[in-house]
């Protein structure tokens, strides 16, 4: 059976060039980069060369990159590291209500340590209003964290506008750019951010490696204490094969990102028009234009997203959902709640994230099958009567 994988926000296949770059560092060049002898220092040099490549992708300097185990760790490091590092200045941080769990749960953890957190609401597209942000700032605010591209609804936030509000007041700004780096051009100076999280998973790199950009002279308290790796900001022997993979993925992304953007947008628009044409009672979520290029999200009325995900997987089509039933906590996605999707409609959530390996043939394959599957589940549903939701 044909396989059409359209869940690239969850994982991307590692590219052959990336795999090649990693392999020698498992056995041939296995030495510890912190050692003083030549076979170790040579590897240290390679690690720093990758740091430069990651920095180059986002317009930063090598010394501003901390390698982490994931995008989630980078987010944890940014929030907790800054909140604790600037504790004497103040104990208030601001995040948006549609952040990734690794930001939201770090913020909740900080609340337990007596920090105060403001959760900014968003409009129906998922956008944060810069004026609203300005009004939430207090004298004791030290950090604002607002994600760049949302993984569930695809909306891209106006980061440059938001960060300029903070710059006026001398407040640090972090953005979770896991969804954007490698998918659209990202430059830390254009965005005006002080900290930025990224992950290899978004750009056909390996799992288990991410990075946090920290602007020069920004103080972050380490989360992992030990040796002086990452200039004392993250202890632990480096994940050298992972770093080699991330470096290669970043180098490739730098040259390809613009072309990839156009390709993904084109496929996404074809998918969107096919769905609009063949399926009724569907609500597309997120912003129409200000969105991630390969991202299409929607809610189908009167069906449930986990059932849709499974029935599509039987057809070789792999997608994602934000429905309550698919979350182990059985809670409606906070992102869909934040953009005011009705809870019963939110159950029918489907998220398609297109990758560079997808083709127009794949999109046609989906458009030929998805309407039948939606129709089949609707025929089971007591909420669907005579072509309409009850």
């Amino acid at each position: 059976m044909k396989i059409v994988y359209i869940d690239h926000a969850s994982a991307t296949p590692v590219r052959p060039e990336v795999k090649e770059a990693m392999f020698p560092y498992f056995d041939k060049y296995f030495a510890n980069p912190s050692t003083v002898y030549d076979i170790g220092t040579r590897i240290k040099k390679e690690v720093d060369a990758q740091r430069e490549k990651v920095a180059d992708l986002i317009g930063a300097k090598g010394g501003e990159i901390i390698f982490t185990s994931s995008g989630a760790e980078a987010n944890n490091q940014a929030l907790k590291g800054v909140a604790l590092g600037y504790q004497k200045k103040g104990g208030h941080i601001i995040v948006s209500g549609i952040e990734h769990h690794s930001v939201l749960n770090s913020a909740r953890f900080l609340e337990r340590l007596d920090f105060e957190v403001t959760y900014l609401p968003v409009d129906g597209y998922g956008l944060v209003d810069p004026e609203r942000l300005r009004k939430s700032i207090r004298p004791e605010t030290t950090l604002v964290s607002i994600m760049h591209g949302n993984n569930e609804i695809g909306t891209i936030e106006p980061i440059a506008e938001l960060s300029s509000v903070c710059k006026e007041k001398g407040i640090l700004f972090h953005t979770d750019a896991v969804g954007t780096v490698g998918n659209i051009p990202v430059d830390v100076n254009d965005l005006g951010v002080d900290l930025l999280s990224l992950s290899a998973v978004s750009m056909c790199g390996p799992k288990g490696i991410g990075a946090l950009y920290v602007r020069e002279k920004t103080r972050v308290m380490p989360l992992i204490h030990g040796g002086i790796q990452e200039r004392g900001r993250r202890a632990g022997t480096e994940n050298v094969p992972g770093i080699m993979g991330l470096g290669k993925a970043a180098e490739l992304a730098k040259g390809e990102v613009r072309g990839k953007m156009t390709q993904l947008q084109d496929l996404r628009d074809a998918l969107r028009s096919g769905i609009s044409k063949h399926i009724s009672r569907v609500h597309f979520t997120g912003h129409t234009d200000q969105r991630l290029p390969g991202h299409l999200s929607m809610c189908f009325e009167a069906i449930e997203g986990e059932a849709l995900t499974f029935i599509l997987s039987q057809q070789g089509i792999y997608i994602n959902t934000g429905s309550a039933c698919a979350s182990k906590a059985l809670k409606t996605s906070p992102v869909l709640v934040a953009i005011s999707v009705k809870p019963e409609v939110a159950q029918g959530s489907a998220v398609f994230t297109i990758g560079s390996a997808n083709t127009h043939e794949d999109i046609t394959y989906v458009i030929n099958r998805l309407p039948r599957m939606v129709e089949r589940l609707r025929s089971y549903s007591p909420l669907w009567q005579n072509g309409n939701a009850r």
């Binding site: 009167a302 069906i303 449930e304 986990e306 059932a307 499974f310 029935i311 039987q314 429905s323 309550a324 039933c325 698919a326 182990k328 059985l330 409606t332 809870p343 019963e344 159950q347 025929s379 089971y380 549903s381 007591p382 909420l383 669907w384």
Partner: protein, 124 residues
């Protein structure tokens, strides 16, 4: 994550649909939580002569309603009322822990349909 039996009942649900002029109808769940089951029954000689259902919900919810309908068909009303959520889950070779409430919903919707029938008989 799901047993083969769950996937079988999800992909080929038994007794899916509605009964015109049913003797009893029961509905359980709520769309906000993501599951709604509607059960329709026909009763003859105090037995469940026919049973159909419609379900809005996840894989587990659809498989549970299919399994309940298969188990209950032909049973006496008393036997059908005693179908437990555990019995339903066991017949499906188990359900993930967080999905056990789905099997509860199946028993509840069927119980409500039987109650609806009995109320109708009393008021006749």
């Amino acid at each position: 994550m799901y047993s083969e039996k769950v996937m079988d009942h999800f992909l080929q649900p038994r007794n899916m649909g509605v009964i015109d002029n049913p003797d009893g109808v029961g509905e359980a769940g709520n769309p906000v939580c993501g599951d709604v089951m509607a059960v329709y029954i026909k009763v003859e000689d105090h037995k469940l002569n026919d049973i159909k259902f419609k379900t809005f919900g996840c894989v587990a919810a659809i498989a549970v309603s299919s399994m309940v309908s298969e188990m209950a068909k032909g049973m006496s009303l008393e036997e059908a009322k005693d179908i437990s959520k555990k019995a339903i889950a066991d017949s499906l070779d188990g359900l993930p822990k967080e999905k056990m409430h789905c099997s509860n919903l199946g028993a509840e919707a069927l119980g409500k349909a039987i109650e609806d029938y009995e109320r109708g008989v009393r008021n006749r």
